[in-house]
């Protein structure tokens, strides 16, 4: 049996195509069942997320299976076949296993190292398991993929460090302050990015929120949204004295706080640490303020710089992860190939047992006067001859040697065994 992957992701398909082929809601179960019933597909798992739709299948003939899977997708989702062919990728054998391991370990994700994909893969597998569309091959492969992903996460730092501006701001705030929920936030002006950063920073609770805006009505609106207190922009310096985290994003064309003003603020707040995030372009806070003790000023480029550094770190860690994956591929295929010899061993033994039983029966029919003790002795002798005869080929089949495929083939031929029919 072989592993086959067919799918498309954010690199090969636009959102228009991805949303067309997504297996949402009841479509997932229908899709699984129909795929499982396709002539060349023995086992199947569907992974469908916003960034990818992939089918993992256990098949005998990859060519025929991939063709029937493609035909199925285009029919099931009612998508033009030529459009699908442009976006879809198909991997088999080692490439398929490597791909699944990479997806699980979040190396194939849009944001490398993002943690959701592993959970999504687990869910996809559990759903398929429940619907009984998996078998010995995919069960093993999915479990292996999950354990590889866990190994990658514990042995590399691929998921450490923030890779978005909002999370970088949160990470910094946590290294400046002990407890963010005991801090006072000030939102100076408003903008989409500022609000997003504010939401992330406040997600663990907050002592108080102050909202200052040039337009007081707008301040009131925002204050309602963040359950904070609105103040007029003219008063913001006075409020800064008790604000610990300031997120600034006004449309002002110049600096609204300069170093001397900030010095006064710091004196009044007894030099307690303050974290200022200036998201505005042009900048609204004099960059010289960062030279003051206990003032930590970050502008949009600083935060982006941190995100870039972290992204670079993740890419370095991804190389380690790729090596771990290569290490894990080999043992999986060893297991897979051992699978092939098991039916042969079983068939060989069955064949021998049948010969033995037939011959004993014949003998006993010819000599009906034998007593119990003699019969037992004959049976014992026959069994031990059979066991001794099958022993060496069994060992050869079990042994993990390079030419095992050949040994399997020869033994099948010599003993006239065809285990294909039994499956």
């Amino acid at each position: 049996m072989k592993v086959l992957v067919a799918g498309l992701n954010h690199n090969t398909a636009d959102i228009e195509v991805r949303e067309k082929v997504a297996f949402n809601g009841s479509k997932l179960q229908e899709g699984l069942v129909e795929l499982k019933n396709l002539p060349h597909v023995d086992e199947v798992v569907i992974l469908s997320t916003c960034n990818r739709m992939e089918l993992y299948a256990g098949v005998k003939d990859t060519e025929k299976a991939s063709e029937s899977i493609k035909t199925f997708i285009s029919g099931f989702h009612n998508i033009d076949r030529s459009l699908l062919d442009k976006a879809i990728y198909v991997y088999d054998d080692v490439d398929a296993v490597r791909h699944i391991f990479r997806v699980a370990s979040s190396l194939d994700s849009m944001v490398i190292g993002e943690p959701q994909i592993l959970g999504q893969l687990k869910e996809a597998f559990e759903f398929a398991l429940e619907k009984k569309t998996t078998g010995i091959l995919l069960n093993k492969l999915m479990k292996k993929a999950i354990s590889v992903a866990k190994r990658v996460r514990s042995e590399t730092r691929i998921a450490e460090n923030a890779v978005s501006i909002s999370f970088a701001a949160v990470e910094l705030a946590r290294k400046i302050f002990t407890d963010l929920s005991a801090k006072v936030f000030m939102l100076l002006g408003a903008g989409e990015m500022a609000e997003l950063a504010a939401k992330h920073l406040m997600s663990n609770g907050v002592k108080e929120v102050i909202v200052a805006n040039r337009r007081y009505e707008r301040a009131c609106e925002l204050a309602k949204e963040f359950s904070g207190r609105p103040v007029a922009l003219d008063n913001f310096l006075r409020e800064m004295v008790h604000s610990d985290i300031v997120i600034c994003s006004t449309g002002a064309p110049n600096y609204i706080v300069v170093k001397e003003q900030m010095q006064k603020v710091m004196k009044e707040r007894k030099q307690r640490q303050v974290f200022i995030i200036d998201i505005s372009v042009p900048r609204n806070i004099d960059p010289k303020i960062n030279d003051l003790d206990n003032v930590y000023l970050y502008n949009i480029d600083d935060l982006q710089g941190i995100v870039d550094e972290n992204m670079f770190e993740r890419k370095k860690e991804a190389e380690k992860a790729e090596r771990i994956i290569e290490e894990e591929i080999e043992p999986f295929f060893q297991w897979l190939s051992s699978l092939d010899s098991v039916p042969t061993i079983v068939a060989l033994r069955e064949k021998m047992e049948k010969i033995k039983n037939d011959e004993i029966e014949k003998l006993l029919n010819r000599f009906p006067d034998l007593d119990e003790k003699q019969r037992k002795a004959i049976e014992y002798m026959a069994s031990s001859i059979v066991n001794k005869l099958i022993h060496p080929p069994t060992i050869a089949l079990k042994k993990d040697s390079e030419d095992r495929d050949l040994i399997v083939a020869i033994i099948k031929k010599l003993y006239d065994i065809d285990d294909e029919e039994k499956e």
Partner: protein, 271 residues
């Protein structure tokens, strides 16, 4: 037996220091656990060693340089463990164990003989003065470690490069509070040590203060720590300045403790 306990303690502290440095650069949960175990085991052996000497000598074993450096190290680890109840700063041991190891190594090279106590020292002041003084010094040693951590973390946040130890060190606020907490612990002990020392001097030699070099340097340390506390309350000197001052303060403690011993022969010659 006593030598065996001491050497074993030294080995555990050495191992803890090495694991502590590994933890700093390749921090994983497991290294942190191993380090804590090594420090704890070393501390238990160390405690046994001190009790053994106490029983053998019949008085607190802080009467020669070997004993006092050893007791100094022991106090540092004691306070380190006490801190863990409130603040989870295990990584502090990576910064403090090298100091402990240096103290223990110098202690190991000094004479370990238990000699009869000179009549001048035979007083209840011996226990009171020395224990208070070393507990105070130990708090300052930890403040030194915390101050160093603060400066490293502050550098990361200010320079906007968040590699290195950024992820593993606690927040600036935590480190700053810890520094303050340790100094408020050490300062009254230092004050008491100076007072009990002069009372003892009075009963032993008949005068409270003789400008012995160690007395002078203790006074210098006292002023530095007084400045840290005063400036924090009045002018809000916290963070970087407090960290630098507490590092400077500990250096004066080390001068008072080691430097004087090496350069001069004062009244404290026995310690």
């Amino acid at each position: 037996m006593e030598t065996f306990l001491f050497e074993l303690t030294l080995i555990f502290y050495l191992a803890a220091t090495i694991v502590g440095i590994v933890e700093l650069f390749k921090g994983r949960k497991i290294t942190s656990h191993i380090m804590l175990f090594l420090v704890g085991a070393g501390f238990a052996l160390h405690t046994a060693n001190i009790i053994y000497r106490y029983v053998a000598a019949g008085h607190i074993p802080i009467t020669n340089f070997h004993e006092s450096t050893s007791f100094f190290s022991w106090s540092i680890i004691l306070i380190f463990f006490l801190l863990q109840f409130r603040y989870k700063v295990k990584i502090l041991s990576s910064f403090v164990m090298p100091v402990v190891l240096l103290l223990m190594l110098s202690s190991s090279m000094l004479s370990r003989e238990i000699r009869p106590l000179s009549p001048v020292l035979q007083s209840y002041w011996l226990t009171i003065h020395t224990v208070i003084a070393f507990l105070g010094n130990a708090a300052f040693a930890l403040a030194f470690g915390v101050g160093t951590m603060y400066l490293i973390q502050e550098h990361h946040v200010k320079s906007k490069h968040l590699g290195g130890l950024f992820a593993r060190l606690p927040s600036l606020q935590t480190l700053d509070e810890l520094n303050y907490r340790l100094i408020t612990m050490g300062f009254p002990l230092l004050t008491l040590a100076i007072i009990t020392g002069s009372l003892w001097a009075e009963s032993a030699w008949g005068s409270f203060w003789r400008w012995d070099p160690r007395e002078v340097w203790s006074l210098v340390s006292w002023f530095i720590y007084a400045i840290i506390l005063h400036a924090r309350l009045v002018a809000g000197w916290r963070g970087k300045r407090a960290a630098i001052l507490s590092i400077a303060g500990f250096l004066t403690i080390l001068i008072a403790f080691f430097g004087i011993k090496l350069l001069h022969k004062g009244l404290h010659v026995f310690l």
